[in-house]
Assembly symmetry: C2
Homo-oligomer: 226 residues x 2
């Protein structure tokens, strides 16, 4: 009996209400004895279920079946080039603007920078098979750039970042907004069209790195398994 079998049997007992929602299940030790496996194997299985939101584990308090399980889904955030390539289309990007400027207060605040700090403002259009797909509005902390700075007309900022500033932390937000005149023009759409927006904030180990807003052309769907 492997840890997957343990997980299967535990979920079966939960589904069939042998272990009802909100109820305590026996300790790892006891479960291990009953199932005839090592405690580490039970631990592995129950940890997995806890990560998935099915169980709640607390030292001393024991393991409890979640009353209202919060479903957790794992999203893949792909690099745009790969996403386009995966559909068998040719990828291209166009750097629309690149200049040092003062970011909006909202952006500076989100990154934790002083409002007056100048940042590199980059606007990029990403295309699939020649058709505009994503309009990217990015503010980049110039402090993270090497000297001389990379040529962002040749390598997209996004790809330079993932290849260079490895393993930063950050957060991400998804929303729906009507296309601004600027976005509509870049994506060749009518203003007001509903756009899927991805907004990302990234910090390195020492300094804020970048804030970016991606406006996806209509038809874009972010999907995942539940």
């Amino acid at each position: 009996m492997g840890w997957e079998a343990v997980r299967a049997e535990v979920t079966r007992r939960i589904r069939t209400r042998v272990w009802p929602p909100g109820g305590l299940i026996p300790s790892d030790e006891l479960v291990a004895q009953v199932f005839g496996v090592a405690r580490a194997t039970v631990n592995r299985a129950l940890k997995e279920l806890a990560d998935a939101g099915v169980l709640e584990r607390k030292r001393k308090a024991g393991t409890r079946v979640a009353a209202l399980p919060v479903r957790k889904a794992t999203l893949d955030i792909p690099v745009i080039r790969q996403e386009v390539a995966a559909r068998g289309q040719t990828y291209a990007f166009r750097l629309i603007r690149q200049e040092l400027d003062q970011p909006p207060v909202t952006v500076a605040a989100r990154l934790g920078l002083l409002a007056g700090t100048p940042m590199l403002h980059l606007q990029t259009l990403h295309l699939a098979a020649g058709v505009p797909q994503v309009y990217e509005d990015r503010w980049l902390n110039p402090a993270v750039l090497p000297k001389p700075a990379p040529d962002f007309t040749q390598i997209s900022v996004n790809e330079w970042l993932v290849a260079t500033i490895a393993f930063a932390t950050g957060d991400i937000a998804f929303s729906a907004e009507s296309a601004t005149p600027e976005e509509a023009a870049a994506l060749a759409l009518h203003p007001g069209v509903a756009l899927f927006i991805t907004e990302r904030c990234t910090w390195g180990t020492e300094a804020p790195i970048t804030w970016v807003r991606l406006a996806h052309a209509p038809g874009y769907r972010l999907t995942t398994l539940l």
Copy 2:
């Protein structure tokens, strides 16, 4: 040196290009010797990094630093009531319609049902502090209902499902769409406004369960840590 320390040291070596993108890193065995820990500890740390998309592991081929790391983020899909309650607002819902009908072919196809199969069509409005938040359009397989059927004017379909049909699988998709006249009316908005759409498909162990489309009022953001 615990597994978190191992993970930290490994990410440091990747960040500092000691182990460059695309390159092989030493075998678990060797890393364990060098770090002076058990192989299981190394395995735990490297598995974590592989799950996060930082490493690619293959038997015999070894462990490789991902060339273009695909960021993975974990989303929490909360029950609407909890989401509203978490903001300190009172939750309410209104069942707008409930009738047996033939689902659109797209819905039947997604669930893998014959096009002619009648399903329970439910439309629900979810409110926070009296203000419309989410318009829910749901098709439910009547085969999963007990007899007599629950009173969906008293308990929301969503909550009845999570409490009853435990541990189903499914998929979920997010997109942005302009409000249909129906949605605009229900949410008290102008037609054409950009709405954040969640579309979910759920299967039980034996039969398809439900297809649901949630239209979120403007301002809704789905956020997570990267």
